[in-house]
């Protein structure tokens, strides 16, 4: 038998703090796909808040810490397109021209994947052994979609969940208005955007909204719960792993 694939799980700061279930779902999915999962506990955050605030020095400090902790694994997997995009697309940009770190950042970046696309595209996963009797709609989070090309992979696996019916929302590829600190710095604009998103979600009459990024999910869940919508919210990994016992994000509808 060949050596198992050694995965460094980059949990992401939001999953760590708000939604550990997503992390455990990722572990389950990766192990069932035959991976050996490791979780360096020195991990904190990918540095994106600093990067998008123009603070290159702090971003670089954090990035060096992440690279050092994870570069020994065969692959680095994150249950977030946004954080995986930061690690794989922006670290090389950050260290461009840095004699000491550029090559390391590029080598590291080449091994970084978002969870669902890693399962399908690298591990060749065709189906999951999960069941959920629900009408579901899926939001394409921006970074995953545009930086990493994630669109078909989650839909392909969701189609294999027994009992699940996918009801596409209109403009699923349009931003939910989260944008990290944008949601608090320009909260009125963010609210206008997420209100539009909530309306398109409601129009699907779905029981459950799924996406692959917790930031977007917290934003949309917050709006849907405030509106009294009937649609509940979960991370796509929870459904694919069959781990839907925990209450949904933001609680029940």
């Amino acid at each position: 038998m060949s050596e198992p694939v050694r995965i460094g799980l980059f949990v992401t700061c939001l999953v760590d703090l708000f939604r550990p279930t997503v992390g455990f779902a990722a572990v389950k999915l990766l192990e069932e796909a035959g991976c050996e999962v490791h979780v360096p506990v020195s991990q904190t955050c990918c540095g994106q808040p600093a990067w998008n605030s123009g603070d290159r020095a702090d971003t670089a400090d954090i990035a060096r810490q992440v690279i050092a902790a994870f570069e020994g694994f065969d692959h680095i997997v994150a249950p977030s397109g946004s954080c995986a995009g930061m690690l794989s697309k922006h670290y090389p940009e950050l260290f461009a021209g840095d004699a000491q770190w550029e090559a390391r950042a590029v080598a590291f970046a080449g091994k970084v994947h978002e969870l669902v696309s890693f399962l399908t595209d690298v591990m060749g996963l065709e189906r999951v052994a999960a069941r959920l009797d629900a009408r579901v709609t899926y939001h394409d989070s921006c970074s995953g979609l545009r930086e990493l090309g994630i669109a078909e992979q989650p839909r392909k696996l969701l189609a294999t969940v027994e009992g699940l019916e996918l009801a596409e929302m209109k403009n699923s590829n349009v931003c939910c208005g989260f944008g990290g600190t944008f949601a608090v710095k320009y909260s009125d604009v963010s609210n206008a955007i997420v209100s539009e998103k909530a309306a398109t979600i409601d129009a699907t009459e779905a029981d459950l909204l799924l996406a692959g990024d917790l930031g977007c999910l917290l934003n949309m869940a917050g709006k849907l719960r405030r509106n009294g919508s009937k649609t509940e919210v979960r991370h796509v990994a929870e459904v694919l792993a069959g781990m839907t016992d925990a209450p949904p994000i933001g609680g029940k509808a």
Partner: protein, 481 residues
């Protein structure tokens, strides 16, 4: 020109509460987007054309001096004149000189964003020359005393019933009871009024979509034909264009034309593509006696060789704003100066200074849809991030935001402390959320909870549970590694 960009947040509040504006914007959403998508999908080589268009402009920007001089030489050879303008004020001066020399009292104008950038209309009026906008959208906002809210659809924020009121208010020489209910009747009225202006105007001023170096040609694309009448009927034609509009050859122009209209309106081509090469020659049936090109720099050459150079590839199609969730929510006026949307969020700090324009590159979710549709493949989010870096370097970002960021980064660099802090935070927020798993009020997070609930954590952090030996759903063997 009044700049309200520093008050972006107040502008936004007004825009979101403006029901007429929101009604107009609801028509915009989807319209441009669907048409652009269909046009791009219908052309198999569209993505390759985008690469080609990007390469052409990159080549131009590397050799701008050569092509500008070639352009001037070829304009001069054909009997035209190029006027170099380093600043907006110099450009206005050139235009006024030309108008005064021919004793102009009025000037018809084709649509030009450069004219907006240099504040030409107000300046001409102060100088006793009446500017008349002839693009229907520009004409409408001129009547309303407004600025364009979109670079290709200047009156996109106005609804038909508002135009009807404006026409009745301004066109007082027409019978007050005339029917204007049908959009066609509004068009017919504007056409009749503008026809007289075309025929009586002394000078015609147009912008340029391209300046072709090899032939000394200026090129405009329009859908109304007003540009043609503006530049053919008066005795003098003045082109006002910025220097990055240059392309080497007619072949290059036609390459970029193939992505321009498709990206802008979803048309294969605009209805009119008009090429002007010098004044009327002997034997020509029509054309102006004089042909002038005012070439504006206004800080653009400072962008060459910097992280903002790619922005000079912009061909002003408007695709970025059409696809921008922020623009779609608030419209163009909230941006507070001339250029709105993502392209405006990059250009505005360059032109008015990042001290005044800093709001714009910050007011983006970095969703990346602008870059996805930009025909010239300008990395707009990256350019906006560069402005944020400039702000951060110069300590211009809001002190509270900076303090929070620094405190968070300090913590994120200390994993042990970080884990302790997040454990406490997860626990505290979990308690706050209670059985509902959310809270409608969170100290220090009013900007979030004003509009939405805050989902609360599940209790323990992932890392704490993992360290404690929980694995998967609790039955496993994993541990810290």
């Amino acid at each position: 020109m009044e700049i309200t960009t520093p008050q972006f947040k107040q502008n936004v509040t007004g825009a979101l509460a403006d029901r007429q504006l929101q009604r107009a914007l609801s028509h915009v959403r989807g319209n441009f987007v669907g048409k652009r998508a269909a046009a791009a999908a219908a052309l198999p080589e569209f993505e390759a054309l985008r690469d080609e268009a990007r390469n052409i402009k990159n080549h131009v920007l590397e050799n701008l001096d050569i092509y500008l001089e070639t352009f001037e030489k070829n304009v001069t050879r054909q009997g035209g004149k190029v006027h170099w303008a380093a600043t907006a004020s110099e450009a206005r001066g050139h235009i006024l000189d030309i108008c005064r020399k021919v004793g102009a009292r009025s000037a018809t104008k084709g649509k030009s964003m450069i004219s907006e950038e240099i504040g030409l209309n107000a300046f001409l009026e102060e100088s006793g020359i009446r500017p008349v906008e002839t693009d229907l959208g520009e004409y409408i906002i001129q009547l309303r005393g407004e600025r364009p809210s979109h670079i290709i659809a200047p009156a996109v924020h106005v609804n038909a019933d508002q135009v009807r009121e404006d026409f009745r208010r301004v066109h007082t020489h027409l019978p007050p009871e005339r029917p204007l209910e049908e959009p066609e009747s509004l068009l017919a009225e504007a056409r009749a009024i503008l026809r007289d202006q075309f025929l009586s105007s002394d000078v015609g001023i147009t912008g340029a979509n391209f300046l072709v170096a090899e032939t000394g040609t200026s090129v405009i694309v329009t859908n109304e034909g007003n540009g043609d009448l503006t530049q053919i009927l008066p005795r003098v034609h003045i082109v006002i264009a910025s220097l990055e509009k240059i392309v080497p050859t007619l072949e290059d122009m036609s390459q970029i034309l193939r992505v321009l209209a498709r990206s802008a309106t979803g048309q294969e081509m605009s209805v009119y593509t008009t090429l002007s090469s010098g004044p009327k020659r002997k034997g020509d049936p029509d054309g102006p006696d004089e042909f002038h090109v005012v070439l504006l720099d206004n800080g653009r050459s400072d962008m060459i060789g910097t992280e903002f150079q790619d922005m000079l590839r912009c061909i002003r199609c408007g695709a970025c704003m059409n696809h921008c969730p922020v623009y779609q929510a608030v419209g163009g006026h909230a941006y507070g100066w001339v250029y709105p949307g993502p392209m405006g969020s990059v250009l505005t700090p360059q032109f008015i200074g990042v001290e005044k324009g800093g709001n714009l590159p910050n007011a983006s979710t970095f969703c990346g849809r602008c870059e996805e549709v930009c025909p010239m493949r300008i990395p707009l989010p990256k350019m906006m991030r560069h402005w944020r870096e400039k702000e951060f370097e110069r300590h211009l970002s809001p002190p509270a935001h900076r303090r929070n960021l620094k405190a968070w980064a300090w913590l994120a660099k200390r994993p042990g402390l970080y884990r302790l802090f997040t454990r406490l935070a997860a626990r505290g927020l979990w308690v706050l959320g209670g059985a509902k798993r959310r809270t409608g009020f969170l100290p220090m997070a009013g900007a979030w909870t004003r509009h939405r609930d805050m989902p609360t954590p599940e209790g323990g952090t992932f890392l704490a549970q993992w360290k404690a030996g929980r694995h998967r759903t609790g039955q496993g063997t994993g541990g810290a590694s």
